[in-house]
């Protein structure tokens, strides 16, 4: 572990910017989201949870996959520098690991069955993630339901604790360790620094509500699939907008769109949402998920049943963004509790 004085942060960011595209939380007109920065001054590190998740860095809202014209097909401009992120929370680094299982095929699978998304991989592989410890978890934070916590380090390369006048940089991966070793402006960590960090960690843990045990939820949910009434109840207030899915760090459904005119065009990948009726509209006009309750069920099933069956863990990291952003206060924690305590009988 090394110490970085706060007035040296800018030096670190500038140094990173020398070889990486550096992203950090930035206040854009009142919304804090991850954006390119070139100095520490651009950042806003005050929020525990940013308005938009950093998944956008690795999986953009709209992404041109290739362009074509009469001369042929050209891949979209490829990025030549790796990505570094400063100030990413543990719920968000964990979400990137979950997305990597889908796009990067980062799971044990026979080689011939693996699919690796080149667009994701070129960004995520080689990225250097400076994670930020959460000194002040929010009431909407429930990362501890999924084994996380305000001081979790999963998915980070370097874990950063703010101790007031300095940051403690703790390497998590060899990549993080190598980078820290290359810095010549860090200081040694004293015993009192460690104590300060431990105190912050302790008080952060104390703020979190105790986790609700959700083991076995993935096994329970398929049994509820056909129970229309309970889904009607949990989705009653939902207006079926896509706000929750778009701020979610783990939602990753997308749509392919072709834009072409005359002799040139391009193919894009854009975010999609299972909350929209068109998500499952079939060419015949039939929609297997025509009702709001069916779409809400899909979102819950995907996160807490289908994904766990395929990849062994829940597709949710408890960041709480969906709770904060919902115009009608549909709280995923209440939804899960409701489903878990449902007696299994319809009506």
């Amino acid at each position: 572990m090394v110490k970085l004085k706060k007035n040296e942060l800018d030096r670190l960011i500038c140094r990173l910017a020398g070889s990486y595209d550096v992203y950090a939380p930035v206040d854009i007109d009142g919304n804090v989201e991850f954006a390119r920065v070139s100095s520490a001054e651009d950042m806003d590190q005050s929020r525990t949870v940013t308005n938009l998740s950093p998944k956008e860095i690795f999986f953009p809202k709209d992404e041109v996959l290739f362009e074509y014209d009469a001369d042929g097909i050209r891949p979209a401009d490829s990025m030549d520098r790796p990505i570094a992120v400063w100030g990413i929370r543990s719920c968000d680094t964990k979400s990137l690991m979950l997305l990597d299982k889908v796009f990067g095929s980062a799971i044990q699978m026979p080689k011939e069955e693996r699919f690796q998304d080149p667009y994701w991989k070129k960004r995520y592989d080689g990225a250097l993630l400076f994670g930020a410890a959460c000194a002040e978890p929010l009431s909407t934070c429930f990362c501890n339901w999924f084994g996380g916590g305000p001081f979790a380090t999963e998915g980070m390369d370097v874990h950063v604790t703010d101790i007031g006048d300095a940051f403690l940089l703790n390497p998590v991966t060899p990549r993080g360790e190598d980078y820290l070793e290359s810095l010549d402006f860090t200081a040694e960590v004293s015993e009192s620094d460690r104590k300060a960090a431990a105190e912050i960690a302790g008080s952060a843990e104390a703020v979190m509500s105790p986790p609700v045990p959700i083991d076995g939820l993935d096994q329970l949910l398929p049994g509820l699939f056909l129970q229309e009434e309970v889904w009607g109840e949990v989705s009653a207030a939902c207006i079926n907008c896509g706000a929750c899915t778009f701020v979610c760090p783990t939602c990753h459904c997308f749509d392919m769109q072709d834009e072409g005119r005359n002799e040139k065009g391009r193919r894009l990948r854009v975010w999609d949402s299972c909350m929209f009726p068109i998500f499952t509209s079939e060419a015949s006009g039939h929609n297997p998920r025509s009702l709001s309750r069916h779409r809400v069920r899909q979102r819950v099933m995907h996160k807490y049943s289908y994904y766990p069956v395929n990849y062994g863990e829940y597709l949710c990291t408890g960041c709480g963004r969906c709770i904060t952003v919902c115009p009608v206060n549909v709280d995923i924690r209440r939804t899960l509790l409701k489903l878990m305590t449902h007696d299994g009988e319809d009506g």
């Binding site: 009431s139 207030a237 896509g242």
Partner: protein, 322 residues
């Protein structure tokens, strides 16, 4: 008697002997700033009802969501002034049957804007909110407590509301309120109009560039209930589904025009927007044009034909080439 108490009693009576099968209202949400819509069938649950500054969405919208639940049922709903205009619109447009709706108007002192309240708290988390209903709202967090001026955190639609009281209702709870004048309501539109064309364009661009196309504005809007929205028609698509500025802008412009003469300026869209886009300005401009040109305001007169489905033969046509 407080508005909330009277509301609970009224709803309990309605469910017990007033012949309604379902009531739509609000209960305290899991966050102190947003109430959660509540659907009750059991009179006992009337005790859960609240009606305050956090009841921000427009409950009329549920009449066009899962329609099955309303089939053959008599439904009660608590309404702010703007919400009642949406219900009037629905009755005119045959989306709700006046006979089967019991409209309960309640005294509305405005609802809060989440963006404004968040910045009033300086980005710190709000854990408790106390509203004196008149001048001050107190925000409390883990290590702070601040009193803010009520008007400073109200939704801009409420600050310029010309009809705070439900227009058409079967029961009214609380005291009628003063409304602002038409001129006050249009202040922001006038100020914007006074800017140069380039400035207007730059500001519009700045706002709408934030759009992430989540369609919260559309889905929370009672006036947006097309079975298939034009942005959901994809064979071929009318406009791209990307967040590229012109795609987003055209979505919003067309939405504005499609709800022209039907938008009741409840501001639910602006409050629902996760990116805090000032969506109401364009709606207000269009509403102003509708009033000036066609002498109509959405959801005001239950017998009048909606402005865009109507016409007069000798209407002003100054914009037609000479």
């Amino acid at each position: 008697m407080s508005v909330e108490k009277e509301l609970r009693r009224t709803v309990k009576d309605l469910l017990e002997e007033g012949g309604i099968d379902l009531f739509i209202g609000w209960e305290r949400g899991s966050l102190p700033t947003v109430a959660s819509p509540l659907f009750i069938t059991d009179p006992v649950d009337a005790e859960r009802l609240i009606f305050d500054i956090t009841c921000g969405s427009n409950p009329a919208v549920y009449f066009t969501k899962d329609r099955r639940q309303f089939d053959g049922r008599r439904v009660g709903v608590v309404l702010k002034g703007c919400d009642s205009r949406s219900m009037v619109l629905y009755i005119k447009e045959k989306q709700a049957d006046r006979e089967n709706v019991v409209m309960v108007g309640a005294q509305c002192n405005g609802v809060l804007d989440r963006g404004k309240v968040a910045s009033a708290a300086g980005g710190r988390e709000i854990l408790e909110l106390e509203d004196d209903g008149e001048k001050t709202v107190t925000l409390k967090g883990r290590d702070y407590e601040i009193a803010v001026e009520r008007d400073s955190i109200l939704s801009s639609s409420c600050l310029s509301c010309i009809h705070p009281d439900a227009l058409e209702c079967d029961h009214f709870i609380g005291e009628p309120r003063q409304s602002v004048t038409r001129e006050q309501r249009l202040r922001e539109v006038r100020e914007f109009e006074a800017l140069s064309s380039t400035e207007r364009w730059e500001r519009t661009r700045h706002e709408y560039e934030k759009c992430i196309r989540c369609y919260a504005c559309r889905n929370v809007c009672p006036s947006c209930y097309c079975a298939v929205c034009f942005v959901d028609q994809n064979d071929p698509p009318w406009i791209g589904g990307t967040c590229e500025f012109t795609d987003s802008m055209i979505f919003h412009l067309v939405r504005n025009l499609h709800v022209a003469g039907r938008c009741v300026e409840c501001g639910a869209c602006a409050r629902a927007c996760p990116m805090d886009i000032d969506l109401l300005l364009l709606n207000r401009k269009v509403a102003m044009e509708v009033l000036e040109r066609f002498n109509d305001e959405a959801g005001m007169d239950i017998t009048a034909k909606p402005a865009m489905a109507d016409f007069k033969e000798d209407e002003k046509q100054d914009f037609i080439m000479g």
